[in-house]
């Protein structure tokens, strides 16, 4: 059963399995485990970006196609839904029309981009997508009577997905994990009171419904991509990544495969964009199309681990947690460094991105396989140390970390 669901692509590392279990449980029981609107937003964003990054990983990690137009498709999805609701009213029909329209536009655009990669070589493709995405961003910003320009658009979701909708009359019980952990660490003798304090009432409303729709979407997309990369199709992609010339010599039409990957990734990004519009209920160029967002997606993909769909889950969770909570940490550190002239500035809460950038560059040098890849390498080494392969050292070659 589990084998079928995960397409025989297990985490293959105990710490990684534990990490993934924690993430999955936190996401599935999310609204019951974390109190407050900020935690809820964070959870929603993690679900959205798991889809976006998994699709990006299909291009970057499995086929080594560097595209900077991924946010463009994300934005098409978000704006498609927002504009359909704007003109047709807040019904599920409008959402469907917007989503289908956005998927169609994304399909055509990504097909064109994919065919363009026929003409230009890999490095050009990255630059061309960057320029195209920028042109799209400027178009969206300029056509303000359709898209709202810089101000963006508010998305009036259907009532069933809004805060006014209450499927259950009574509040549901919830346990705030951060409070519980904090209590356990600071006053473990006071167990009863800590337990009392960490309980809260969850008023389950339409936004939670939307959140669970997102969780379902993210699960579906994740399992689909996992299935895809472990299929013969995925093997061809990896062959193209390793040596495109040789893959072509073996009789695979690499252009078809590359185009298919670009289109697939674009469609998934569009879907995620639609989900984003519905959970965030506000789209503007900055939160859907910005180049910075593109860089963030790239960071998530690389930090999680390129070429492992699991990396998308780990990478987007880590990055979004850092984005939302690293500032708090820096603020806390900042209390102790206030007064030291340069350090104070460097550790300012606004400069979390600086430290993330440093971390990113270092991780590309020293852990190019990302979190998932590195955990797998470690556990593989441990396994080969415990049971030396019977047929000499060549049976299980120890993967060296690339430098």
């Amino acid at each position: 059963m589990l084998r079928r669901i995960l397409s025989e692509d297990y985490p293959r590392s105990k710490p990684l399995t534990a990490l993934l279990l924690i993430i999955v449980v936190s996401l599935v029981l999310g609204p019951f485990l974390f109190d407050g609107i900020r935690a809820f937003t964070t959870l929603g964003m993690i679900c959205v970006f798991i889809m976006v990054v998994a699709a990006y990983d299909l291009m970057l990690g499995y086929t080594h196609i560097v595209s900077f137009a991924h946010t463009m498709f994300f934005g098409i999805g978000a704006y498609g839904v927002a504009m359909a609701i704007e003109s047709m009213g807040n019904s599920f029909g409008a959402i469907l029309v917007g989503l289908v329209g956005a998927l169609a536009i994304s399909f055509v655009l990504s097909l064109l981009l994919g065919l363009l990669s026929l003409r230009v070589k890999a490095i050009f493709f990255a630059l061309v997508t960057l320029a195209v995405a920028f042109a799209f961003l400027s178009l969206v910003t300029q056509l303000y009577h359709v898209t709202g320009g810089e101000d963006g658009m508010r998305v009036r979701v259907p009532r069933e997905l809004g805060p006014a909708f209450r499927p259950f009359e009574a509040p549901l019980p919830g346990i705030d994990i951060p409070t519980l952990l904090k209590g356990l660490l600071t006053q473990p003798w006071n167990l009863g009171q800590v337990w009392q304090e960490s309980q809260f009432d969850l008023r389950f409303n339409g936004r939670n419904v939307m959140y669970y729709v997102l969780v379902a979407m993210a699960t579906g997309v994740f399992l689909f991509l996992l299935r895809l990369v472990n299929s013969p199709f995925g093997r061809v992609l990896q062959a193209i990544r390793e040596n495109e010339f040789r893959a072509e010599a073996l009789g695979y039409r690499t252009v078809v495969y590359r185009t298919a990957v670009v289109i697939l990734a674009a469609l998934v990004a569009t879907l995620a964009g639609a989900g984003f519009a519905l959970i965030n209920r506000y789209v503007n160029p900055e939160n859907t199309l910005n180049f910075e967002l593109m860089v963030f997606i790239l960071l998530m993909c690389v930090i999680g681990g390129m070429g492992t769909v699991y990396g998308a889950v780990v990478g987007s969770t880590l990055f979004i947690l850092a984005q939302n909570y690293l500032q708090d940490l820096l603020k806390w550190v900042g209390q102790y460094t206030a007064g030291i002239p340069v350090v104070e500035n460097l550790l300012g809460a606004d400069h979390w991105l600086l430290w993330f950038g440093v971390l990113f560059v270092l991780s590309v040098y020293f852990f190019p396989a990302g979190v998932v890849g590195q955990l797998r390498i470690w556990s593989m080494r441990r396994r080969s140390r415990q049971s030396p392969p019977p047929s000499g050292p060549a049976a299980e070659p120890e993967p060296e970390p690339q430098t």
């Binding site: 560097v66 363009l116 230009v120 630059l127 320029a131 042109a135 178009l139 606004d350």
Partner: protein, 359 residues
């Protein structure tokens, strides 16, 4: 190609040759001098649509913008051509130069910059330009050693690492100069405009901004200097040879890495120079200004053909001109037209207008 054009008419009669010549010539230009062909078409098409005086002002402004773009883009194209290093952090160097130069103009030598005398202005402008170039160059040196050197030959990692480096540089700019925009006033002698007297035929009555003329002159001067270095000096020979084949230059006993380091530093310095020119043009400095220019820079180097200085120059001119022309007709479409131009050229000639390397 040239052989064909001379050989073909010989078999024909004289009358046919007369008739055919212009088309043959045009085809020849289109295939062998694509950059001039495109430039000519653009100038002719725009002069047909836009009123002549407006057109002249737009053209000069476009050339000025092209000159600034050329300064910013030339470093990146050479870096790619010589070592096939794609430096996506180039935009951060543009910002860095703008901020360094802006600091000189707005804080350190603001007394000189504000005075009406041209010579006193120069006392502020020249150090600002030099300081911008030096700061960007020094940071470029450190950046090359720390960030780029470990990832030679791996395009994917270069893209990742330089994107990360660009974030770090941009954040450091914010740490040093603060996150707010910094207004920089242009020195007195560079602001204002020339009025061409009314009585002159054709061009009478138009207004030329002084700063744009200065940008054109500076851009042309640096282009000429670069052409001289590349075509006439020993270093230039080595650079051209390195672009053609890195290994062969290494085999001859030259330390190509030192050469590359020099080019990288020079390229960063030029980016800084372009940045300070752009900052003075905009009169407002933001940490993201370099990133915003990166798109135009990328279009320029793709248009010109990666690694080619001449291509970079013509690409910058084309981008500058189309920006101004389309921006005049329909401001919203300027960015789209720029990217459209690039996509069109790529469909026609995937290697760019003046290709030098086989990517």
């Amino acid at each position: 190609m040239t052989e064909e054009t001379t050989a073909m008419p010989m078999s024909d009669t004289g009358a046919e040759r007369q008739r055919r010549r212009p088309i043959e010539w045009l085809k020849d230009v289109r295939d062998n001098k694509a950059h001039l062909f495109l430039l000519g078409i653009m100038l002719l098409a725009s002069v047909a649509v836009i009123d002549f005086r407006t057109w002249l002002v737009l053209t000069i402004s476009g050339v000025a913008m092209g000159a600034m773009l050329f300064l910013m883009a030339s470093g990146m194209t050479l870096t790619f051509g010589l070592m096939s290093v794609l430096n996506l952090a180039h935009g951060a160097f543009i910002s860095l130069g703008a901020f360094a130069g802006g600091t000189v103009l707005a804080f350190w030598l603001d007394g000189f910059a504000g005075s009406p005398s041209f010579l006193l202005n120069l006392v502020a402008i020249v150090p600002a330009l030099l300081f911008a170039a030096v700061v960007a160059g020094v940071v470029g040196l450190v950046f090359e050693k720390l960030v780029i050197m470990p990832v030679y030959g791996d395009h994917l990692k270069q893209i990742l690492v330089t994107v990360g480096g660009s974030i770090i540089l941009m954040q450091l700019i914010e740490v040093v100069w603060g996150p707010n925009e910094i207004p920089v006033t242009r020195p007195d002698s560079l602001s204002g405009a020339f009025f061409v007297p009314e009585f002159l035929p054709l061009i009478g009555g138009i207004v030329l901004e002084k700063y744009r003329l200065v940008a054109v002159v500076l851009g042309l001067a640096i282009y000429a200097a670069m052409l001289w270095v590349i075509d006439r000096t020993r270093i230039g020979i080595l650079i051209r040879a390195g672009v053609e084949s890195r290994e062969m230059v290494e085999v001859q006993g030259y330390r190509i890495h030192l050469l590359f380091l020099g080019v990288f530093v020079a390229g960063s310095a030029l980016a800084g120079l372009g940045g300070v020119m752009w900052g003075m043009y905009k009169e407002l400095l933001t940490p993201h200004m370099g990133d915003e220019m990166m798109i135009s820079v990328i279009v320029v180097i793709i248009l010109g053909g990666l690694g080619s200085i001449r291509g970079c120059f013509y690409g910058a001119l084309l981008v500058g001109l189309i920006n101004l022309y389309i921006g005049f007709v329909e401001p919203r479409l300027a960015a789209v037209a720029t990217v459209g131009l690039m996509v069109g050229v790529l469909m026609w000639r995937p290697q760019g207008l003046i290709p030098v390397i086989k990517v």
